[in-house]
């Protein structure tokens, strides 16, 4: 049972002072499957329907106020459906949720307190300028012309839209379109912003700029951001906590570091110099170790080491001793990004366990 919150105010988490921006309990969505044309033709008067497809399956989670929360999962995992339910665009079949303390059935208030930025960069009127587009959407939020002008000016300054604002939308680059999308999402000064793959169509420079903007949204402006992304490095770089969904189920919710640990697989990359042939032979065959010699840098060896579960610390120490003992000079030890990918793969396997409620 969800605890009732004062409308418009995030609920305080039990036993702590961290207010909750979003809470869901057993949220479920099943979509009816279309029947084939053949079935429909053979049984024209029979009510037919295929087994429903469960897009979101009993998802329970809490997202804290001021948190940058990442939603990861393979295609069809249910991420967008979950976000659309929280934005009141799709009706849940069962379970319930509160957004900013408002039940999802209180649609107008939920919508007034959220913003949605999708990766769909066409969702503006192409024959209008950026400013005219923003003025139109500001009016839909009930803002007066003066209030809208103020909000648009502030957003434009912050997002560096100024000189482009009076240019027609069809002349915007993809990066500018996404920034205009964020400006639109912020028009009503929402406490929660949903970003659905905002960097999907952006080049690396524009994507990096957008990630800086997202960081500022949370760290400096105090918004709660729910980020749906396929970019693991983006999620790891930005998010306070990450949820991984698979086949509609919430598999895990944790901060990136814990997620790596929960993956149960550690992966270290050592860059070593000075290891002679004898030394290399000594470490060769070490359990979980693969040795590479990068082209163009003679004398450098890259050791990819994946120790057995439960003995990472001791195994790494032993390997370091052996390398140093064999004359090797360790230049660098890193835990590469692949670790989150490992976690992602683990939690999106069919047999992976579902997350505990409210993880």
């Amino acid at each position: 049972m969800l605890q009732t919150a004062a409308p418009g105010k995030a609920r305080a988490k039990k036993g702590g002072a961290v207010p909750v921006a979003i809470v869901t309990e057993g949220l479920t969505k099943r979509f009816p499957q279309k029947v084939s044309l053949r079935q429909a033709a053979l049984h024209p008067f029979r009510r037919l329907s295929g087994a429903p497809l469960t897009a979101v399956d009993r998802v329970s989670l809490e997202i804290r106020q001021g948190e940058l929360f990442g939603l990861l999962g393979p295609n069809g995992a249910g991420k967008t459906t979950l976000v659309k339910m929280l934005c009141t665009l799709v009706l849940p079949d069962s379970g319930r949720a509160e957004v900013n303390g408002f039940d999802l059935s209180d649609e107008a208030r939920v919508r007034a307190s959220i913003g949605l930025v999708s990766g769909e960069d066409r969702s503006f009127y192409w024959r209008l300028t950026g400013r005219q587009n923003l003025e139109f959407f500001a009016a839909l939020h009930g803002l007066s012309a003066r209030a809208a002008a103020g909000r648009i000016a502030r957003a434009a300054e912050w997002l560096e839209l100024g000189e482009f604002l009076d240019r027609r939308f069809d002349r915007y680059s993809s990066g500018m379109k996404q920034r205009l999308g964020i400006a639109r999402g912020l028009l009503n000064d929402p406490s929660i912003l949903f970003l659905d793959e905002p960097t999907r169509s952006l080049d690396p420079v524009s994507a990096a700029h957008l990630r800086d903007v997202v960081k500022q949204l949370v760290r400096e402006r105090g918004h709660t951001v729910v980020l749906v992304t396929h970019q693991l490095h983006e999620a790891e770089d930005l998010c306070d906590r990450i949820a991984i969904m698979h086949k509609g189920r919430l598999r895990v919710v944790a901060d990136p570091l814990t997620l790596r640990r929960q993956a149960g697989v550690r992966h270290y990359r050592l860059r070593v110099r000075g290891l002679n042939a004898e030394g290399a032979a000594l470490v060769k065959g070490w359990p979980g170790l693969a040795i590479r010699e990068p082209a163009g840098d003679p004398g450098l060896l890259v050791l990819e080491f994946q120790p057995a579960e439960g003995e990472a610390g001791e195994a790494l120490a032993n390997l370091l001793d052996r390398v140093v003992g064999a004359g090797g000079r360790i230049e660098d030890v890193e835990t590469p990004e692949a670790a989150l990918e490992t976690a992602f793969r683990k939690f999106t396997r069919d047999a992976a366990p579902a997350a505990e409620a409210g993880s």
Partner: protein, 270 residues
């Protein structure tokens, strides 16, 4: 003023988009002129041979068809603009952006058609101006206040059909059966180009089931003959009845369609 903020924003949006296509904007008025000219020549074929079917409208075919052409535009707008605004919003992705704001879908739907109705009203004025100034149509006896009331009721009762049309688009995305209905049935039976009285007797009762028939008859009587309120009352009451029954019914159907689309997750799909 606050209540009009959203509808006005839609009007401003659509006007700005229209003006951004200046050639298309002016070609529309040229198209009206060409249409009027064509029917002017058609009417000259008949010359002064007055048809008894036109007697209640003043006896002149050109004046008769001018009103029919001008006011059938409302039917076209109603049948197309509601459904088109939904479909366009779905295809462009703007519908989702609008729906995330605290604006009801019914407000979006109705506001999206405001400019089209405004523009159609401008076209109607243009039709009459050209008809009166260039082709000598006599509008000196027109009962303008009654014509305005008939126009309002026309918009209301036609809008109901447009809202049902939008409901089809909401659920089925394509294949709107009302499209065919408006194109064929209404043009054939509504009395746009000829009086309903010329239809076979068995078909005439069907024609009198359409709001367009009452709307055109009342408008022609008001504009061409300056018919009194008393004379127009039966048609006005019929239009009130259409609006009173069809509008709530269409809004109910639309609400059901939206609920179904939200349940199926297809609200913003096309």
């Amino acid at each position: 003023m606050t209540g009009w903020r959203k509808p006005l924003a839609f009007v401003k949006r659509d006007l700005t988009v229209l003006i951004s296509y200046p050639m298309a904007f002016f070609l529309q008025f040229f198209g009206i002129f060409a249409t009027i000219l064509m029917f002017f020549f058609v009417s000259r074929v008949f010359g002064g041979a007055a048809s008894p079917h036109l007697a209640e409208y003043g006896g002149d075919y050109f004046s008769f068809v001018l009103v029919g052409l001008a006011f059938s535009g409302y039917m076209t707008v109603a049948m197309n603009s509601f459904a088109a605004s939904i479909r366009e919003g779905q295809m462009m992705g703007t519908l989702e952006a609008m729906l995330v704001s605290p604006t009801r879908l019914s407000t979006i739907l109705i506001s999206s058609s405001l400019w089209n109705y405004t523009f159609t009203s401008l076209r109607v004025v243009f039709f009459f101006l050209i008809g009166a100034l260039c082709f000598g149509v006599d509008l000196s006896h027109a009962n303008l206040s009654a014509a305005l009331v008939v126009q309002g009721l026309t918009i209301l009762s036609f809008s109901a059909l447009g809202i049902v049309s939008a409901s089809f688009i909401m659920v089925f995305k394509q294949g709107n059966p009302l499209d065919a209905l408006s194109g064929v049935v209404f043009s054939l039976l509504g009395g746009v180009l000829y009086p309903v009285a010329v239809l076979p007797a068995w078909l005439q009762p069907v024609a009198w089931c359409l709001p367009l028939t009452y709307s055109l008859r009342a408008m022609r009587r008001a504009m061409l003959r300056g018919a009194s309120w008393g004379e127009l009352l039966p048609d006005i009451l019929a239009l009130v009845l259409f609006a009173a029954v069809l509008l709530p019914a269409s809004l109910y159907v639309f609400r059901r369609a939206v609920r179904r689309a939200r349940r199926d997750g297809t609200l913003t799909q096309y």
